[in-house]
Symmetry: C2
Subunit: 315 residues, 2 copies
DNA sequence: CAAATACTATCGATAAAATTTATAATTACT
DNA sequence: AGTAATTATAAATTTTATCGATAGTATTTG
């Protein structure tokens, strides 16, 4: 059994086709046929059911493929071990970002980062916090950006910035006349929230230390995007809360509706998180430096109070 | 990079000597030299510092070896995947056993097991419960026998038997006249215990629901073996508690000093434990069947009350 | 201090293997 | 039936792994 054979198996399993797999692995099709046959002989099992079209994995073949993926993944990480030692900044890097951070933060640092570290191939994925936690643990993700703290033993967090919550309060709202708002002003009943599961929503719910918290059925209007919330709010359906960076992008007219909190500003902590195994630490450092540098210009709040995401139902 | 090269690296790292490593891997020494050089060239690093005698790993070499071990371990497990599918019962099997179970249980099932499953190469190690938990998680152990429950999410437990605690009470002791003893009779102050860290000790401490529990300094006489405890007890230093299976092996004269508990018999649960990944399930089943079959004849108590090991300081 | 010892690297030869090109066999599709 | 698509086989070629012999280099020993 060789690592090469295992890679061939993975390629054929992926493409369900020897010819296409051969093209992707840059060898000829007979090479795949023979090497996979050799592996099948050695293990004395059939990995593929060649009678089916397209080709299929046998039952044992599925397990073989799963284990092959483990082996090949571990083998691929050898290069990362070496890169880390050499301080080489390059290679593929998989970054996860939660939905409420992705659209505002990504445009702020992506161009700068790719220019500064051209040898790093960033693969960015929008994921929920739970997906991020499990993917980091299983080494399917090199790092992620999420609201913290997460209280995960095997995940390190490095705070990038503290992003205040800002009230978006339409003219018709009872708080519209106030210049500054306070947490005590908030009534969970008339705040529009993201749909259940977003950690931003969890943060807001934590913010309103209302005893009505458990009356979940009262949240009738929930949306997946802040744009929708703003529109609903304009329709007089209530106020909403936005993350500070998002307020930089709304129209001038809408900015009139923004109301900041009195100090200390309630905020969410946004961090770069990664596995304690700390492979690719160089790239993590590079990302951290780039993002915190870019954000430092955009966010200049002091005196923040951190609202933690809850442990359950976060996105 | 090939799996073979990684195995060579591991061999040289282990023996700190190319020549001996070559003998162990059944190739000639030049083969090792060349293949390891090839790997070093490919990764463009030095794994070994050949100027030191005996040969040493470089800093990066240590990390390479660690990663190589990961890869080779995963590769070795491929055969297990196949064996499991085929229902083949054989191959190497690493079993851990805690010290208070090892000497009595091992002789009871080892002969039967090796006769029934001659193709299984059992490698048995005496380990503390904590060592067992970490080694099972890291796949350095295929299964283990320990006192349960352990409350470990990633470890499965299958109860083998319930082993009652039996009092060993010398003539001079205040309880010597009783035919049956009860937990209420116990005074932690005059019970001889194993040294701190044994989970059997923890079980006994749990048994005596005494408020004096925290006065740890009162346990002055502690030993690592039940034989010593019995001797100390005979010297009039107090009573002690033994696991039932151990009482089958003491002399007739000493058996006079045994006092059983009234029902329900306080007992420890002894289980076969293994990772949830469940590779080598065939062998685990075989072990379970053999041990529970052998023990069924030896232990025939009903009406047991299970005393759990504590989570801290267990062995 | 020189000889012996222990160990690793290098060289050339050889055996083993992986890969390629060419082609046959099989299956699916029209 | 004929064509297209796909996998298997065969023979040739290139590449790689291993070995035996030996050179080089410390380390130890008499």
């Amino acid at each position: 059994m060789t690592i090469t054979q295992l890679k061939y198996v993975l390629a054929v399993a992926e493409h369900q086709n020897f010819t296409k797999a051969a093209e992707n692995t840059f060898v000829t099709q007979p090479t795949l046929s023979m090497q996979i046959q050799k592996l099948e002989d050695e293990l004395d099992i059939l990995i593929f059911d060649r009678s089916k079209k397209p080709i299929e994995l046998t039952d044992i073949g599925k397990k073989i493929v799963s284990q092959a993926r483990n082996i090949v993944n571990e083998a691929d990480r050898m290069q990362d071990v070496v890169d880390q030692q050499k301080g080489f900044i390059g290679g593929e890097f998989k970054l996860g970002i939660i939905p409420t951070i992705m659209p505002t933060l990504l445009p702020m640092f992506l161009r700068t980062f790719t220019k500064r570290y051209p040898k790093v191939q960033l693969k960015i994925e929008e994921l929920t916090t739970d997906e991020i936690i499990s993917k980091i643990s299983e080494n399917h993700l090199d790092a992620a950006i999420a609201a913290t703290p997460l209280y995960q033993e095997k995940i390190r967090e490095r705070a990038l910035y503290y992003e205040p919550f800002v009230g978006y309060i339409p003219k018709s709202h009872r708080l519209a006349e106030k210049k500054e708002i306070e947490t005590a002003d908030l009534d969970i009943e008339d705040i529009l929230l993201l749909e259940d599961g977003h950690c931003f929503r969890d943060g807001v719910v934590n913010l309103c230390k209302s005893p009505k918290l458990h009356a979940d059925q009262s949240f009738q209007l929930e949306s997946g995007s802040f744009e929708t919330l703003i529109k609903l709010s304009n329709e007089g359906l209530g106020m909403t809360l936005l993350p500070y960076l998002h307020t930089l992008e709304i129209s001038e007219k809408q900015k009139d509706n923004l109301r900041y909190f009195a100090k200390p500003h309630p905020s969410r902590e946004v961090s770069l998180i990664y596995s304690t195994s700390e492979l690719k630490l160089q790239i993590i450092n590079a990302l951290y430096d780039t993002i915190s540098g870019v954000v430092r210009g955009a966010i200049a709040f002091q005196d923040v109070e951190i609202i933690s995401p809850t442990k359950k139902n976060r996105k």
